[in-house]
C-alpha cells in the first residue's frame, strides 16, 4: 500500500535468484520441560539480505535468537552458519565465526564507558592473554591502541557524539544506549547481525532513521541482518523477507506484501473475524 513496501517488495528479488543462505536453520525445536517454545522451525537467511522475524508476544522469537547465538541449546534440529554446523557451539565461538547480536532490553555493561563497551565486542579479535597483559610488550600496546581507535570509529559511525565516548553506558540517553549496543555488536566484525527489537521505545522518526541505518550498515559492511521487530512500518519498509512465528511454529514466510495479505497472519495478530463483524 505504501510506496515503501512496494519498493522493498520488488527489492526482494533474492527469493527468485537463489543467493546461498548464510544461515540455515533446519527443524529447530526447543522444549522447556513440557512447554514447546520453538517447534520444528526451518528457515534460511540469504547472504546480504535483511530478514525480519515477527510474531505475537511469546511466539518464541527471542528463544530462537538465543539458540542461534548459542545462549541456549536446541532440543532438536541443526543450525548451519556459512556452511559450518554451529548447533552446539559456545556463544563466544559463534561470535568469533561472525554472528553478533543486540538485546531486546538493552544489555550494556553499566559500569563501563561507551568505548570500553565496544572494546568488549572487539574482545574475540584480540589476542593478549594474562602474561601479555602483565608484561605489556609492544604488540599488546599496539593491539590496545588499535582496539580503542576502532571502538571510537564505530561509535562515531553509529552517531554517538565524541563527548559521550568516555561516559558510562548508564549515563547515556536511551537512544544512545541503543547506538552503543549496535556499535558493540559491530565491533566483533560480524557477517550476520541479529537485532532484537531495535526500535523498541523509539518514536516514528527515530525508527525511520534506524531503518535507513540498517540498510546503510548492510551495504557499508557487507552484512546480513536478521531482526525481530514489532513495528510493522519498520518491518515492511526494511525487510526483503519476513518470517512469522506463532506459538513456536512457523506460520508464514514471504515478502512483506505476501505476509501482510496472509489470512493466517492477520488472524494470529488480530484474532478471527467473528460472524457479526462487518
Amino acid at each position: 500500500m505504501s510506496p515503501d513496501a512496494t519498493a522493498s517488495a520488488s527489492a526482494a528479488a533474492p527469493a527468485a535468484s537463489p543467493a546461498p543462505p548464510i544461515l540455515l536453520a533446519e527443524g529447530i525445536t526447543k522444549q522447556f520441560g513440557g512447554l514447546t517454545a520453538v517447534n520444528d522451525v526451518t528457515f534460511d537467511v540469504p547472504a546480504r539480505s535483511i530478514v525480519s522475524l515477527i510474531g505475537p508476544n511469546g511466539a518464541g522469537k527471542t528463544t530462537f535468537f538465543n539458540m542461534l547465538t548459542g545462549l541456549i541449546r536446541p532440543t532438536g534440529g541443526r543450525i548451519t552458519f556459512d556452511g559450518r554446523n554451529i548447533t552446539r557451539a559456545r556463544p563466544d565461538v559463534i561470535t568469533a565465526r561472525g554472528v553478533a547480536r543486540t538485546f531486546q532490553n538493552i544489555r550494556l555493561f553499566g559500569a563501563m564507558t561507551a568505548t570500553e563497551n565496544v572494546m568488549i565486542g572487539y574482545h574475540g579479535r584480540m589476542r593478549a592473554g594474562v602474561f601479555g597483559a602483565i608484561a605489556r610488550p609492544p604488540w599488546v600496546r599496539r593491539e590496545e591502541r588499535q582496539a580503542v581507535g576502532r571502538a571510537r570509529e564505530l561509535l562515531a559511525y553509529v552517531g554517538l557524539r565524541p563527548a559521550d565516548f568516555e561516559r558510562l553506558a548508564t549515563q547515556l540517553s536511551y537512544g544512545d544506549q541503543r547506538r552503543v549496543e549496535i556499535a558493540r555488536a559491530l565491533a566483533s566484525e560480524p557477517r550476520l547481525l541479529l537485532l532484537d527489537e531495535p526500535t523498541a521505545g523509539m518514536n516514528p522518526q527515530e525508527s525511520a532513521a534506524l531503518s535507513a541505518f540498517m540498510r546503510r550498515i548492510r551495504d557499508d559492511l557487507n552484512l546480513t541482518i536478521l531482526l525481530i521487530e514489532h513495528d510493522m512500518r519498520v518491518v515492511m519498509g526494511v525487510s526483503e523477507r519476513v518470517t512469522v512465528l506463532n506459538y513456536g511454529s512457523r506460520l508464514a514466510e514471504g515478502t512483506p506484501a505476501e505476509v501482510r495479505a496472509n489470512p493466517a497472519v492477520i488472524e494470529a495478530y488480530l484474532g478471527r473475524e467473528g460472524n457479526g463483524t462487518p
Partner: protein
C-alpha cells in the same frame, strides 16, 4: 549530610581551580613516589622488632591477600567465601618445601649453609613463592570449575564448602600417608622449624630483626600491585568486569566464559598463595588451626571496606583492618576497657569491632573508602537523574 558533602565538593573544586594545570598531572605520580619512599624507609622510623613493625608486616601481607580476593570478588564479581584455602596452600608450600617435614628426602636448592645440612626439602624462598603461585593457581582453577554454571550466592556456597574442605584436609592430613612414614600435613600439631627466608648477602631472616621481613613483604606487595594494575587495564580485566556486569551480554560479545572466569580464580588464588607462603615463614609454623572460615570473611571485609573492585581500595582496606587487628586493638587500645573499670580486654571483642566498622562503612559510605573509578561515576547524582528520566521512557512498542 548531603549538604555537607556538596559543600566539600564545592571547596574541592575551588581549590582545584587555584592550582596550576600541571598539578593534577603530577599529583598522582608524586603521591605514588611519596608513598613508595615512605614504604621503603618506614622500618627505620621504629624499633627493629617493635609491635608497630610487626603489625605493619602483617597488615601488608593482609593487603596482598585483599588484592588477590579483589580480583575474584571485585573485578570478576565471583563471591568467593573460601579464600582461606589459598592461605593454606601457600603456607603448606613453606611447610613442604622449606622444612624438615619430609624427613625421608634430601633436596636443597639455594638455601643457607645451615639448612643445607638438614633432612627434608629445602628450597629458596623465591622458589617456594613460585611453587605457591603455581599450586594455588591450579587449586583455584579446580575450586572454580564446579562454580562455573552457578551465579551469585550459589558460588559463595560452593566456595565456602571448598574452603572448609581444605581446612578439614589440613587437620586430618596427619593421617594421610605419602610414603616412608611421612604424612601430608601435621594437623593441629603444626609443621614447625620452618626455614626462615635466606638470600645471599642478607643471611637468614630472624625474628629479632623484623626489617628484612618487612622489605620482603613490601616487595611482594609492589609486585602484586603492579600485576593488578596491569591486569585491570587489559583485555582480560575488561572481560572480567563485563562478565560481572552482564554475563549473558559478555558471552554473546565473544568473551569465553570458562577461560575468563577460571583466569580470575587462578590469579586471585596465586596472590593469596604468595601471602600465605609469607605468613607460613613469618609465623615459623604451619598449623591447621590457622585456616578457619573467619579468615575468608576477614579478607572479604577488607575488600568491602576499601571499595569492591578497586585496587587502591583493597590495598587501603587490607592495611586498615590489618593495622586495627594486629596493632591498634592488641597493642594500643587493649587495656582501654579496664581504664573505664570494665573487666575485659579489647582483643576479646575484636570481631564485634569489625562488625561495627562494616556496618558503619555500609551506612556512611557504601561504595567503600576508595571506590572503583567506574562505580564512582555510577554513584554520582547525574546518573540518578538519568535513571529517573529513563524510568519514564515508554517501554516496548506502541
Amino acid at each position: 549530610m548531603s549538604e555537607l558533602a556538596a559543600q566539600l565538593r564545592e571547596w574541592r573544586a575551588a581549590i582545584e581551580r587555584l592550582l596550576p594545570p600541571w598539578w593534577s598531572k603530577w599529583w598522582n605520580k608524586g603521591l605514588a613516589a611519596l608513598l613508595l619512599v615512605v614504604g621503603v624507609i618506614l622500618p627505620f622510623l621504629t624499633g627493629s622488632n617493635s609491635g608497630f613493625l610487626n603489625g605493619t608486616i602483617v597488615a601488608v601481607a593482609y593487603a596482598v591477600m585483599a588484592l588477590g580476593l579483589n580480583v575474584v570478588v571485585g573485578m570478576a564479581g565471583l563471591l568467593d567465601l573460601g579464600y582461606v584455602a589459598f592461605y593454606a596452600f601457600g603456607a603448606y608450600c613453606v611447610g613442604w618445601f622449606g622444612s624438615g617435614f619430609f624427613f625421608g628426602t634430601r633436596v636443597h636448592v639455594g638455601v643457607s649453609p645451615a639448612a643445607s645440612r638438614l633432612a627434608g626439602i629445602h628450597l629458596n624462598f623465591v622458589l617456594i613463592l613460585i611453587a605457591a603461585v603455581v599450586i594455588c593457581a591450579v587449586a583455584g582453577i579446580i575450586i572454580g570449575l564446579p562454580t562455573l554454571r552457578l551465579r551469585g550466592d550459589y558460588i559463595a556456597i560452593v566456595t565456602l564448602a571448598f574452603g572448609e574442605i581444605i581446612g578439614v584436609l589440613a587437620v586430618n592430613g596427619q593421617s594421610i600417608g605419602v610414603g616412608g612414614g611421612m604424612t601430608l600435613t601435621a594437623g593441629n600439631l603444626g609443621i614447625s622449624a620452618v626455614d626462615p627466608p635466606w638470600f645471599p648477602g642478607s643471611g637468614s631472616f630472624s625474628l629479632l630483626d623484623l626489617r628484612p621481613w618487612y622489605w620482603l613483604i613490601f616487595g611482594i606487595l609492589l609486585i602484586v600491585l603492579f600485576v593488578n594494575l596491569r591486569l585491570r587495564d587489559s583485555r582480560l580485566g575488561r572481560a572480567w568486569v563485563a562478565l560481572r556486569e552482564d554475563e549473558v551480554a559478555a558471552v554473546s560479545m565473544g568473551v569465553p566464559l570458562v577461560k575468563t572466569k577460571l583466569m580470575a580464580y587462578a590469579t586471585g588464588a596465586a596472590f593469596g598463595g604468595m601471602a600465605g607462603a609469607f605468613f607460613g615463614a613469618y609465623f615459623t609454623v604451619v598449623n591447621a588451626g590457622q585456616f578457619a572460615f573467619g579468615f575468608s570473611i576477614f579478607i572479604l571485609a577488607m575488600v568491602v571496606v576499601g571499595g569492591i573492585g578497586s585496587i587502591w581500595g583493597a590495598l587501603a582496606g587490607g592495611l586498615l583492618l590489618g593495622y586495627i587487628n594486629n596493632y591498634l586493638i592488641p597493642d594500643v587500645l587493649n587495656n582501654l576497657p579496664q581504664s573505664f573499670g570494665l573487666n575485659f580486654q579489647l582483643t576479646s571483642v575484636s570481631f564485634g569491632i569489625f562488625g561495627f566498622l562494616l556496618v558503619l562503612v555500609m551506612t556512611v559510605r557504601p561504595q567503600g573508602l576508595f571506590p572503583e573509578r567506574r562505580r564512582k561515576l555510577e554513584l554520582t547524582g547525574e546518573v540518578a537523574a538519568q535513571d529517573a528520566e529513563l524510568g519514564s521512557e515508554p517501554e516496548g512498542p506502541a
